[in-house]
Every structure is written in C-alpha cells, then in structure tokens.
C-alpha cells in the first residue's frame, strides 16, 4: 500500500509535471510521435493495400506481413537502427521503427477489408458501367471502411505502446519517465509513469471506440 500512496504523492507533486522532463512535455512528445507515425504509416500502407485489394493481387504478402511483424522485436529494431547512420538524425530511428511496426496491421486489415466486399456488389457495380477507379472509391472503399478503421485503431494503440519502448533506446515520450525512474531506483516514479502510459493507451483505444459508435451506421464494424 505504501507504494500506492508514494505513487500518488509523486503524481500530486506539481514539480514533476513541469519542465523538459515533466509529465506534460513527455505527454506532448508521446502524442506528437504517435500522430506523426500514424499519419506516415497510413500514407504508406493504405494506398498499397487499396490498390492490391482492388486488383486482388499480392494477398499472401499482405496477410503474412503482419505475422512477420509480430515476430520481430520492436526493441531490437530500434537499437539496430540506432547503430546505423539513421541513428544520427535525432528522432529518426524512433520514427522509422514505429512506422515499420504500424504498417503491417494497417496493410493486412485494409487488404482483407477490400477483399471481403461482397463480390455480388462489385459485379453489380461493374454491370452498371463503373470504371475501376469509381468502383474502388465509391464501392469498395466505403464498404471496407469498418475493417480498415479497425486496422487504424490497432496501429494507433500499438504505436502508443511502442513509443514507450523508444525510451529504452533514448527516445522521447512517456517511457522516459519510467526509464528515469529505474535509473533513480524510484519505484513510485516507475509506477506513476506506467500508470500514465497505460491510461494514455486506454484513452486512445476508448477514443476510437467512441468515434466508431458516433460514426455512420454502415461504417460500424460487426465485431
């Protein structure tokens, strides 16, 4: 119980919230890192998945890539990048590693979503004389949106989690509060940092859940 009260004391101390190592600054870094990486990985993964899904090609690659992604330890990739020339670009290694880890779930979910669009609907659209482009943007994309958004949500939560590990390799973000706590042998600080990260990850998950509920009925996943 003493750890809990000590953690509360740590969190209640305004000195821990301000400054370059303070909670607000770390939270902002974490948020910025997550958003930048999510946007970058969407820009890379979604066009590829949509085109592959529309053409129905490269399915094995699109589906298996997320299994491969799971087997590669994030932490190891971060450290590997850190030791290459990329390591000299400041936040470069963190951004590259995070994008590498967000791309697989995005790609797999968007591709599966495109392929699971009812073939009857696709054929009807073709029969009405839609071009490939119209078919992709007006039929397949809207119908695959629930699975695609599910991929974005998985990627976002994974990014929040992985951005924490970035601290182990000297990156910014909330993970730094935890690693600093370990270095100071301060259990309250470690637990406080962990609580902040966990709450942040749950808030992101909850945010997507709410967005999904508020979205139009046809865009809701049937999960």
């Amino acid at each position: 119980m003493s750890t809990l009260t000590a953690t509360w004391d740590w969190l209640a101390d305004p000195a821990h919230w301000s400054g370059d190592n303070g909670v607000w600054h770390r939270l902002l870094q974490h948020l910025l890192l997550t958003v930048v990486c999510l946007v970058l990985s969407c820009l890379i993964a979604l066009p590829v998945a949509l085109v592959l899904g529309h053409l129905g090609r490269g399915g094995a690659l699109a589906v298996n890539i997320s299994n491969v992604g799971r087997a590669v330890p994030t932490f190891a990739v971060l450290v590997l990048l850190l030791l290459t020339p990329v390591g000299n670009w400041g936040e470069g290694p963190t951004v590259v590693a995070l994008v590498l880890f967000a791309v697989p779930p995005l790609l797999t979910n968007a591709y599966v979503g495109m392929r699971e669009v009812d073939r009857g609907v696709v054929q009807a659209a073709r029969g009405m004389g839609m071009t490939g482009r119209q078919l992709m943007f007006h039929v397949e994309l809207p119908l695959s949106l629930p699975l695609l958004m599910n991929g974005v949500r998985i990627a976002a939560v994974q990014l929040v989690a992985t951005a924490t590990i970035a601290a182990l390799a000297g990156g910014g973000g909330l993970g730094r509060i935890i690693t600093a706590g370990f270095n100071l042998a301060s259990t309250p600080q470690v637990v406080a940092g962990a609580l902040l990260v966990a709450v942040f990850a749950l808030l992101v998950e909850g945010g997507f859940e709410i967005a999904e509920r508020l979205g139009p009925a046809w865009a809701r996943g049937g999960r």
């Binding site: 087997a71 330890p73 030791l83 924490t164 182990l168 749950l202």
Partner: protein
Amino acid sequence: MTAAPDDCLARNEWICGAYLSSRRGILLDAVVQHLQLTALSVLIGLLIAVPLAVLARRWGWAAGPVLALTTILYTIPSLAMFSLLLPLYGLSATLVVAGLVLYSLTLLVRNLLAGLRAVPEETRQAARGLGYGPIRLLLTVELPLALPAAMAGLRIATVSAVSLVTVGAIVGYGGLGNLVYAGMNTYFKAQVLTASVLCVLIAVAADLLLLGVQRLITPWTRAARG
C-alpha cells in the same frame, strides 16, 4: 605493448564470426533464458486461459467481463506492464513471466472462446443424446473441436511472447534482450545484430514447431480440407 588485433571485433563490424565463437557461452545462456521465460509464461497463460474460457462459455454473462478485462490488459504497453508489476515482484524473472502471462491471456482466452463457440449445436446435442455428461462432453467433444482455433491463438501468443521477452531487459531478465540492451550502450554492432537475428529465429522455430504439433493432434482438419 602488443598491437590491437585487427579482426572484425576490433573494427566493430555488423557480422562477425569471431563474436560467435568467442561469446558462445553468453549467447547460449541468453537463448536458454529466452526459451525458459517464453515457455514458462505461455504454459502458465494456457493453464489460466482454459478454465477462464470454459467458464465464460458455460455462463454467458461471464464472457463480457472476461473478454473486456483481458483486452484492457493487452492495451497496456509492455514497458508499463513490467513497471506496474515492479512493486509486487521486484527485479526478478518472476516479474517478466507475470507480465508475459497477462499478455498471452488475451490472445489465448479470445481464441479458445471462439473455438468453443464454433462447436455446432447439433454436435453437442448428438453427444448429449448418446448419454455424455457435461464433463465428458467438454473433454471429449468440445475441447478437441476447439483445438484448431486454440492452437492458432497459442501460436500468436508464443510468437508475441518471444518478441516481448526482450523488453524484460529493463529489469535484467530479457534473455537475448539483455544482449541487445548491453550492445546498445557499448555500440557493439555484432552483438546487437546477432541477438536480434537469434530472437527472430526462435520466434519462427517456435511457430513452425507449434504448427507441426497442431497438424499432428488435429489430423481431421487436413482430411476435411483435402
């Protein structure tokens, strides 16, 4: 004074045969620790997940809370998870195992439950008609039919656990992650690359092994497909 040896270790190259031969003992210890941590946590996870899934299947009201709780656990980042358990277990291997068990629970419970739910009602009724009691029904009909889905979950959980063990380096029990962490601090390229590659190899080997086991214990799925 002797001149520094001019080998790949001194030049700090990525791929280095001398590293492999001179640090064989360290590498072997790390691999063994990695395997132990992974196997222990997945096994404990399985022992907890099976009763949870069976209970959630039997009493419908329990399914919601069980799934919600395990999903929340999965959302917590691994570094945070290890840190949150710190006051309970201190800096120990138990801490890493406890964290990994909590992660594998989500994947295992979800897949087991999906497998149990996919057992056709007619099959269940046929077994009841043959005079099967609830326990015999569960052990000889429902669980075997849920095996393919359960094995899929087990494979994902194992591969994830292999990669997550590396984060345990923060408390000094990360198997190959320890070597990556130490290599990062000393810019030892060969050590980081070797440990990372070994880690991926372990994940792939574990996945293939479980796939083989799955084929052996569920021969009917192959017959049905072929």
